[in-house]
Amino acid sequence: MALMRSPTGRARGLGSSKDGTSHWFGQQIAAIALIPLSLYVLTTFMLQVVLGNGYESALAWMQNPLNAIAMILMLSVGIIHGANGAISGLIEDYVHHRVLHLLGLLAIKFTAALTLIAGVLSVLKILLGA
């Protein structure tokens, strides 16, 4: 296998990062969890927004503890699955420019963290009525 690498490549030491399997395995587990979670949360969410349901109806839906738990679980698993997918499927596959690569990774990770925390805090505020 050493022959598959150029001298420059060997000197830079940028080979396999050795964590491909755990990335793949994590994505499969998240995907399995997301089948029931996203089906339930997103179809009931669509009911609220497509019908243009009012504030009270939406509030009552999100104040149901089971719905709140499902929403928080779906956001957590879904955003991590999405961030990992975008990093491997978009940045690592197609963005080879070193600076753009790094900026892309940072943008995805920061956006994912911000979106996840904003979503979870919103659900908690609605649930607890703070």
């Binding site: 420059t8 009911l47 243009g52 879904g78 979503g119 919103s122 659900v123």
Partner: protein, 147 residues
Amino acid sequence: MAAPPPPPLPRPDADSQDWRPLSPHLSVYKPQLTSGMSIFHKITGIGMAGGVVVLVAWLACLALGKETYDTLMALLTTPVGQILLFGWTWAFFYHLCCGIRHLLWAAGWSLSIKAVYVTGYIALAVSTLLTLGLWAMILGRGGLPWL
């Protein structure tokens, strides 16, 4: 005696010193159902990242009170908002069906060329039917059968 190193393989970015395998150069392939669906799996995944931001914005507006919520809902119920929501619905069902296909492959099932095409057409048909079905149910009956 060690074998001499193999000659560098011809590749599109010929100026690179590094000739390990790369991700596919999409432009040199004839379009196929398989590659097309793989690309759409990525595009729908990225598209749903935008959908999640809208979902979280909806939650934040709901948490902020009636006025903010009504403002966002006014945007989401415009024709453009509804078209975006319809697109996200299809992206979701498509990514879901393709994702189940990926899980089947990961388990070692349906890996023959024929099975890949059959499950591909099934995923396309089922995701489209689920999208139309969900919207028909919501718009036609004012709700989902179980709600």
